[in-house]
């Protein structure tokens, strides 16, 4: 029996629904962006040429295609500003994700080992910050970190420092904000894999002569790798494109790619370059996703 025949009509509809969603709300908009990235800026509304106008006939459409160029992409590669911006984004994302993993793993591990009823409470505590707007929480950090903010007041009162320390508009403040905001996205997938794990496996490892530390590195950690992968991707990808946190907490001397994109789009009104920035960002982010997907598929094939 072929796989197709076992699906009834509603089941087949349900199966294509996610693809339909992806086509309508991701692929089509992305094609628009891609098209704009191949256009030229113009002082017009919208601010780029050429525009497609199928109503004017086949010839004009063909001419519009011919007018498309890769100039914007050439610019992105040749100008340090963009390359450095991409590199900084990837570096910030890599450092933040590493910090998130180092902080999130022990928290998730501890949660998974709590008595059942306390696990629900811990889960609530992780999720509770989501009840407040993300922007408000970042502004709260500005309040805490500013010159006469809570942090400096406490440090001065405890005589740890003699003069207020500059926290705001530094990379440290940005990393703090990123780690604070993304921690639940790291903890939840890790907790999901760790809490599913059979405690008998650890007992078996102990029984076979592994100390608790060896049992962790030989059994718990390798078995939690799918959760590590999910948590890392869930954090890394949005952090690369992060705009709000670096804009509000970091200094202005170097920009992440999200900020560069914003500048091109709103300040320079250069939609084609902004679109090219977005297109390359997407391609950069698809690479780790495909890699992860292949890893998972290989695991599935083994079973």
């Amino acid at each position: 029996m072929s796989a197709r025949t076992i699906f009834t009509r509603p089941a087949r509809l349900a199966a294509i629904a996610p693809y339909l969603w992806m086509v309508l709300f991701f692929l089509v908009p992305f094609l628009f962006v891609l098209k704009i990235s191949l256009s030229q800026t113009a002082i017009a509304q919208p601010p780029y040429t050429p525009l497609f106008d199928v109503s004017e006939g086949w010839e004009t459409t063909k001419a519009a295609f011919a007018a498309l160029s890769f100039d914007n992409f050439r610019l992105l590669v040749s100008d340090d500003l963009y390359v450095l911006s991409y590199l900084r984004s990837l570096m910030v994302a890599a450092i933040s994700t590493s910090i998130l993993l180092v902080i999130g793993y022990p928290i998730a591990y501890g949660m998974a080992r709590l008595p059942q009823r306390w696990q629900a409470v811990a889960m609530m505590l992780v999720i509770v910050p989501f009840w407040t707007s993300f922007l408000i929480r970042i502004y709260a950090w500005i309040n805490i970190l500013q010159h006469d903010g809570l942090l400096n007041q406490i440090l001065l009162a405890l005589h740890v420092v003699s003069a207020p320390v500059v926290w705001l508009s530094t990379d440290s403040a940005m990393y703090l904000g990123i780690v604070y905001s993304y921690l639940p996205f790291m903890i939840l997938p890790l907790y999901a894999t760790l809490s599913k794990m059979d405690p008998a496996l650890l007992e078996a490892a102990n029984d076979l002569g592994a100390s608790p530390r060896q049992a962790f590195w030989r059994v718990t950690f390798p078995l939690s790798l799918p959760g590590v992968g999910a948590g890392v991707l869930l954090c890394f990808i949005p952090i690369v494109g992060e705009f709000v946190i670096p804009d509000l907490l970091a200094g202005s001397d170097s920009l992440m790619i999200g900020q560069t994109l914003w500048l091109e789009f709103f300040t320079n009104k250069d939609w084609p370059v902004a679109s090219a920035v977005a297109a390359i960002l997407l391609i950069l982010l698809i690479v780790p996703l495909l890699f992860y997907d292949r890893l998972q598929r290989r695991q599935l094939e083994q079973t």
Partner: protein, 393 residues
């Protein structure tokens, strides 16, 4: 309780298969207590197990048998008492430092490691040279007949194969004591029975000491040389399978192990023993009249007694057996109420005229049984005094 493997008060059939008792026992459990809150999961339990024994811990769920096993493995620490392995108290030693291994109920195979790596796991932790590890793994794979499957992951194996990997993994370190926690519970009946025999074979060949926890009586009786029956954190009886079945120490044991008919009564001293017979005691029961039993070697201390007789020792016949047959001195008349044909045996329920319901099972020794009884048929149920066990209560 520990030394009480022979039971003088019981019938002639109860000679225990005593283990080799010379020297120190391999394992001595000495008044061990384990509490969970107020609940005493293991209650002042003592037990000796000798090297080379195959010992079964049998009991209903929640009786403490698994807790006891986990204390031997080191996953639980006793609140009181000592656990001596070769004379050394291991009660406080963590599991990874004990020369004891365990085979887990659901095998607990490492899903990310293949068969070879699973078996190797314990050897690597023991920091054995790699050439020796390779040799040992090969030996173990051959021992449990898993050749050719070394590269498979646990989820690519059948239930029976997984059971073998778990066994090989727990045996690889050559533990002084192997603990088996319901090792065959996940297998189907046929496979379970053949695996029981292989397990016995293996234990005998390797000369190791096995302690198995099970709730399956047939399994315990098949594999073990001695069985400890636990209830409410205590050992009710420790005995060889035959003694456990034929000479249960208490009413609880009698009812827990196998099927049994229990008839309550009192010692009847007015009845004069007839001179022609061996020493008999008469027990007056309300529901089955007077029942004659063999005189115990020690006199009863209580007057409320309970006569216990296994169904296969109750014979049925249409007419009373020949009167001078002393084995048929107990004759109870009644009506067959239930007949269950089970293949090898047929099981009958007989409602006695005095009120008791008696079960009798008869082996179907011939293909055509012209003697089978049918419901509402009047029969005589008879049994020998020697086949009765008298329990005080």
């Amino acid at each position: 309780m520990t030394d009480d493997i022979s039971n003088p008060a019981r019938g002639a059939d109860s000679k225990p298969e005593a283990p080799a008792t010379f020297g120190m026992p391999l394992l001595r459990i000495d008044s061990v207590v384990k509490r969970f809150g107020k609940f005493r999961a293991v209650d002042a339990l003592s037990l000796d197990i000798h090297a080379g024994e195959f010992f079964a811990l049998l009991g209903p769920s929640g009786c403490g048998k698994t807790t006891l096993l986990r204390m031997l493995a080191g996953f639980e620490t006793p609140d009181e008492g000592r656990i001596l392995l070769n004379g050394e108290d291991i009660a406080q030693i963590p599991p990874h430092q004990r020369p004891v291994n365990m085979m887990f109920q659901n095998y607990a195979l490492f899903p990310h490691l293949n068969v070879r790596d699973n078996i190797e796991f314990g050897l690597k932790r023991a920091q054995m040279p790699s050439s020796e590890i390779a040799a040992r793994v090969t030996e173990m794979v051959a021992l449990v007949k898993l050749d050719g499957l070394e590269k498979r992951k646990p989820d690519q194996l059948s239930g029976g194969q997984r059971q073998r990997v778990a066994l090989a993994r727990s045996l690889a370190r050559r533990p002084q004591l192997l603990l088996l926690d319901e090792p065959l519970a996940a297998l189907d009946k046929k496979l379970r029975e053949s695996t029981q025999l292989e397990l016995m074979e293996l234990q005998r060949r390797l000369g190791l000491t096995f302690i198995i926890v099970t709730h399956d009586q047939a399994e315990a009786m098949t594999v073990a040389g001695r069985i400890g029956v636990m209830d409410a954190g205590r050992l009710e009886q420790v005995a060889a399978p035959r003694e456990l079945y034929e000479a249960p120490r208490s009413r609880w044991i009698a009812e827990f192990v196998g099927d049994i008919n229990l008839i309550e009564g009192k010692l009847d001293t007015s009845e004069e023993p007839r001179p022609t017979m061996a020493r008999r005691l008469a027990i007056a029961t309300a529901q089955a009249g007077t029942i004659y039993v063999a005189e115990p070697r020690q006199p009863f201390t209580r007057t409320n007694l309970c006569v216990a007789i296994r169904p296969e020792k109750v014979k049925l016949s249409r007419r009373p057996p020949v009167s001078d047959d002393t084995r048929a001195i107990n004759r109870l008349e009644g009506v067959v109420t239930d007949v269950s044909y089970l293949g090898g045996i047929t099981s009958y329920k007989i409602k006695l005229d005095n009120g008791a319901v008696l079960r009798s099972s008869m082996a179907n020794t011939a293909r055509l049984d012209l003697d089978a009884y049918s419901p509402s048929q009047r029969v005589v149920a008879w049994f020998s005094p020697e086949d009765c066990v008298v329990l005080e209560q």
